[in-house]
Symmetry: C2
């Protein structure tokens, strides 16, 4: 049998409200005696509040919506794990959805989650997020009236709270590392035109080149969608571009794609050129030589995101701050000194 407050009230011979006050630990009235008795009965009956009823009357659900583009990607998986954990620590549950990298699905899920009564939303956007009409998007987000934070993207044109790492700096760090190792002809695999985080990385790469007196060469520019597959696609032309001695990739996964292609074609990618990726993927260490990579400080991003979201929720006030965390270059063995 499922016990309700009413049952407990009856059993204890008190009123409903007294039970409610006690079980919610409201520090008011109620004698210690009855307090004890009620708690006692609640424990014996394994009383569990009906959360639908609580939601309905308190207008909160203690559920947070989390939307990620691809849970299969270790970067987002790790993010999800930490978000889930931190939310749980604060008494919130995670209503999860994978948008499969579709902006349309993203909107659909967003809508759905709002109607499920989530208290707030964490959106890790799909690649194509910024291809949408910002006006409309802004309107949709505003209309939800829910605390919202965009994670892993910076939306200059959107009045929303966002948390991201410094993409420009990440790319700059990596580019400089390659240059410091004597590389002059550095290929860059960028995300497509308006992909989330792509332009910033491109600028970091390009400006670091210039800062070091190197001229940018369009022939060294490649494009992918961060997936293993897209790295694989680009592999042959990069590997056969004989001038390049190093490649900076916008994701470790694309580097995996290159390595895969190389393996299949009897060429050793690590001997062919130096490589740096983004994401600090856990699998970076299983390739023949562990990959040097840009770490985005997932934990930091997550705690900032969750912190900002919960703050909005408790303060009942929506803010639009942009938070940026600093990335870190993880040096491993995929970068070699080049002799000139």
């Amino acid at each position: 049998m499922k016990y309700t407050m009413k049952d407990i009230a009856q059993a204890a011979g008190v009123s409903l409200s007294t039970v409610s006050l006690v079980l919610n630990d409201r520090p008011v009235r109620v004698s210690d005696k009855t307090r004890k008795r009620i708690k006692q009965i609640a424990a014996e009956t394994h009383y569990q509040p009906n959360s639908a009823a609580v939601s309905l009357s308190r207008h909160v659900s203690y559920n947070i919506g989390l939307i990620v583009p691809d849970i299969t990607n270790p970067f987002f998986a790790q993010m999800t794990r930490e978000i889930n954990e931190q939310l749980a620590q604060h008494g919130y549950s995670t209503l999860f959805a994978d948008s499969n990298n579709s902006a349309e699905k993203e909107r659909h899920i967003l809508h759905n989650m709002v109607s499920r009564g989530v208290d707030g939303i964490l959106l890790v956007p799909s690649n194509e997020f910024f291809y949408q009409d910002m006006e409309k998007l802004q309107k949709q987000i505003d209309e939800t009236g829910k605390p919202f934070v965009l994670v892993n993207a910076t939306a200059d044109k959107l009045r929303v709270c966002s948390v991201n790492f410094d993409n420009f700096q990440g790319a700059a760090l990596a580019t400089q590392e390659l240059i410091d190792h004597g590389h002059r002809n550095i290929a860059f695999i960028q995300g497509k035109a308006q992909y989330v985080n792509a332009p910033e990385r491109y600028q970091g790469y390009r400006q670091t080149l210039e800062k070091n007196g190197l001229t940018f060469h369009p022939d060294f520019l490649y494009e992918g969608d961060y997936s293993i597959e897209s790295g694989y696609q680009a592999a042959s032309s990069i590997i056969n571009n004989n001038e390049v001695t190093a490649v900076l990739s916008s994701s470790d996964m694309m580097l995996f794609g290159i390595i895969k292609w190389a393996n299949e074609h009897q060429v050793n990618a690590f001997n062919r050129f130096s490589m740096i990726g983004f994401d600090n993927d856990p699998y970076d260490v299983i390739t023949q030589y562990p990959l040097t990579t840009v770490d985005q400080q997932i934990s930091k991003m997550v705690s900032e995101s969750v912190g900002a979201l919960l703050k909005m929720i408790v303060n009942k006030k929506i803010t639009h701050q942009k938070l940026i965390v600093t990335p870190e270059l993880i040096r491993r063995q995929s970068v070699r000194m080049i002799k000139k």
Copy 2:
């Protein structure tokens, strides 16, 4: 402003109940005219039902609890993605939680989800799931009164619905493959004693050995917890066990651990021995030679699991069927013919 059915009723000049009937597409009474009008107004006002209210009165939430041991493991990530997708297709949302491979946390989450009013639960158990007191566990599950399915494990001692793949057969397939390639000294890295799925794989390995007239050798038996790290730990002793010419690992990840150790110690794992793992990890193809592996048919397991769960929900009847799907050996390039 947030519109309610009451607002719509007022605007349409009809009663609340009429609105409810129309918006829920109940095929009863109500003239087409008023039906249209109501739908019209609902659309204009972007009406969204308050799901807490629906839950409260209908005693269903359209939320399903999903508990996984480690979302960071690609195997579970892929499972999660498919589960989420299939649930969504049926109008259910996913209340997600990562148990971090802790049986205690698992119980805690389970409890929590029930009190959140989920309509059913999918539990992908932690490694140590079967170390628990089955009596107590059975009681806890029964007490929830919720449709429940255990995914990726078989619980002979538990009266619950479960969906798993045939671990025995998977191990047998892989062992036979190695034997067919001339291997006689096949190491096996098993999960710890009572780990989920571990004993069945061990039996598959062992019985296949015997079936082929090979004697089982305790020195060829190793232990791990499926992680990269645990493979790494075991690596040196396996690699230095000069008799072994092939290794069957209970997870691809542990093979990655071995490969990592080998890379670090200037030995080529692929030249050292043949290898087969379990999980068909997406990263199997980025190692120097793509790994042969046992594929558990995640999609199949997921559709069986979700199907069984939803069936219980709509039939309002809890069942305890055990479903088993057939694994498949994915042949790639980590197994070589050995000359005798």
